[in-house]
Symmetry: C2
Amino acid sequence: MVYRQKGLRGKRKRWFSGRQSHKTKDRMSKEKKIYKPKSVSGFPEWLPEVRRVEQQWFDHIRRVFESYGFCSIETPSIEELDVLRAKGEVDKEIYVLERLHKEEDDDSDARLALHFDQTVPLARYVAQHFNDLIFPFKRYQMQRVWRGERPQAGRFREFYQCDIDVINVDALPLHFDAEMPAIIWEVLNDLPGMEGENIQLRVSNRKILIGMCECLGITNIVEVTRIIDKLEKIGEQDAYADLLELGLNDEQLALIIEISSIKSSPSEISGLLRDFIARNDVIARSGSDEAIQTFNGGVAELETVMDQLKHLPEDAVIADLSIVRGLDYYTGTVYETVFTDDPGYGSICSGGRYDDLAGSYINKALPGVGISIGFSRLFDRLRQKGAFDVTRKSAADILMVLPNEEQRAAAAETARTLRERGYNVELYHAAQKIKKQMSYAERKGIPYVWFPPFEAGQDHEVKCMETGGQTKADPQNWEPRKEERDAAVA
Amino acid sequence: MVYRQKGLRGKRKRWFSGRQSHKTKDRMSKEKKIYKPKSVSGFPEWLPEVRRVEQQWFDHIRRVFESYGFCSIETPSIEELDVLRAKGEVDKEIYVLERLHKEEDDDSDARLALHFDQTVPLARYVAQHFNDLIFPFKRYQMQRVWRGERPQAGRFREFYQCDIDVINVDALPLHFDAEMPAIIWEVLNDLPGMEGENIQLRVSNRKILIGMCECLGITNIVEVTRIIDKLEKIGEQDAYADLLELGLNDEQLALIIEISSIKSSPSEISGLLRDFIARNDVIARSGSDEAIQTFNGGVAELETVMDQLKHLPEDAVIADLSIVRGLDYYTGTVYETVFTDDPGYGSICSGGRYDDLAGSYINKALPGVGISIGFSRLFDRLRQKGAFDVTRKSAADILMVLPNEEQRAAAAETARTLRERGYNVELYHAAQKIKKQMSYAERKGIPYVWFPPFEAGQDHEVKCMETGGQTKADPQNWEPRKEERDAAVA
């Protein structure tokens, strides 16, 4: 962006072209080398009217997170590559950074890489600032993350995640496992554009299935959980066949399918689980003490969590024992969130409890529970469905007409008065024909046009672009009428 | 983050350790490999209580920008390297991205690099979306940018910039040149923590000095502007010596020093310039028509801009003809912003007018004017000075005491009622001793502690942690008293 001295003569021509620039355009274009830009696949950007809705989403999510007492943190976009790999090789596609002009023999810097999630940075943050944080540490984080994977529909290489996590030292009360779904329900249900969508949070506890497998003497538990994770997708029949292939016997098979098929409202889950246990005393009979403790612990935890979710609307949250979250690192409660009329789209918001967040970085036991909204994936889905109001291309509530140059100072003063009263006001930039100024407001989707006096002593008037109504107004106390406000100022 | 099958046995132990994890800690720590993390130089991150102020800053800046009708955009963190270089080699240290697991012969992707400012991305954005934007296009942008330079005090490798720019097709009214300083004054003056700081915006117009140089037959204009740019720093005497060395004669020298020394309030600049011109008719006598037009154009533009800034407080904005913005690409109006009691800290907010934003990407003349707040640099300065209230480590306004397990549902309900009324409420997670719950509020800086009934039928009470006052309260209509509110809820 800096021109050097030798290029001055050519550049000087353009310095001074000023208002004449349009006259010399044709000549200039022949000299210019044009590098026509295009979108980079997997790196989304939005027009202002879409970005406006994106901001409303972030504002809403932040408001709900904060209303439960979560504080905000941000971490750098990068971590040292060794930090990202401290728990072993990572299966995500990582972007590493190189300085373009780095000298070849300069190895002074550690290798830096863009973070691929917000969990590893949180773990590093908690370990590094351990002595400055108050526990339980409740934080939310809404940042971009990067994954260098092949872009495909609904998948980005750069995207936003919105995470909440609670971390404590040594032990973490189940209260927080129950708080997560309540928060996420409030967030997702009230997002602008989600009015037409039906979503459902599904909660389970991994200890139940795993404890039962151990009680029944099943050794290939990972394979079993992998099949159960696909249960809804592949159906009971295929799951049967796959489990049979693993070498499970009829009793094991039937019990696993039966328990994984349990889906229940918060108020009924306890009864269903008690009933299942009573009917299948083989579990308590055949398991080791440790295995039974795992199973019973999972049952008790799920009951406690669901009991605290009874206040939510019917169908908002269910217990769904087929939820196991694949091969992830969760140890107890697990969450998924789906569109009930399109569960095949996959989970839009997932998480769970983990026993040790930051064990790779600090010699402390730091159990936690967290949940992550796949923001960009969710936002882009609704954008593509046309669920958003994208008529507002400006932040302005009011376009202040500039009647003529003589009234410029007075019009600017009126604009300032309205700004102080909380309205966003754009002062039109030139004393052009009123029709042209109004057309500008129309095209930018600015809901009100304000006409200050064309001569001293005249009245102010305001036109609502939605209703077409025009009325006298006083900058000191004007407010949009209720029916206008519904149509216009958000 | 994913464990593979062969590692299952070892991992399973930790899956189920659950609440026992603290017991097994000692044994585990001997097995664990700890990778102790540290800060990466030049990549700042804040504790929650500092991040809270940073959010207040962003909120305030956004509110002011939007109040003038600017819309928000965000661009990807990356651009194609060819886009960043479309205007020629870049002198900024660029970070390029590499996929860690990229196959060696895979050259399918264009080279991507992190953006080093928001101006190049804006230019690319405007060119790419030209047909979807309404002009004048007024946008603000608050994102991180990256520069791989050696970190030093007050300089980061990753930092936030807050930019506003207005772009138009063919010609852009001077109205916008005058709007920029008014907006920036409002932004900077009202930022939390800036109460004790005196800042000043300094405005000039490059056409004045450059036109005068041309009128006087000076050919090495870049060197002259470079010396004038340092005038305040090196003093008049050194500037004299440097200009003499360039081969300027006495008359040229005197005139350049005289005009560059002009500093004036908005209401007096016009008189000072007219007076200077009248006393020095050599300019009009000796210059070419084009050079005189440049000089006079610059004078007229500066007068117009300053005339529209008369409403600001005294000393908020001055005309300062020593401002030339180094070798940058500005063509008319230029801005700098300094701490008046520490001008040596350098400009915290700079910008100006450019004749052609996106000429490298589209065959249109797109003049613009913009200004950029060096957010992180400014924020970190005030943070280091201790200018912020950093007592709030939580977003919660109220800590809801959990009296006992029996009252959990009732306490949760009270918390929800208060949340619906706009308060941020954290429900304490366990029915521990009241003293412990209050200590938690104290340490997190939560301003109110709410005591719900310990038995049905009792009253609610609220304690203000700042004043120590405790009163009966109704969740449906409680509000902090005015004197408490000043001390507590922001």
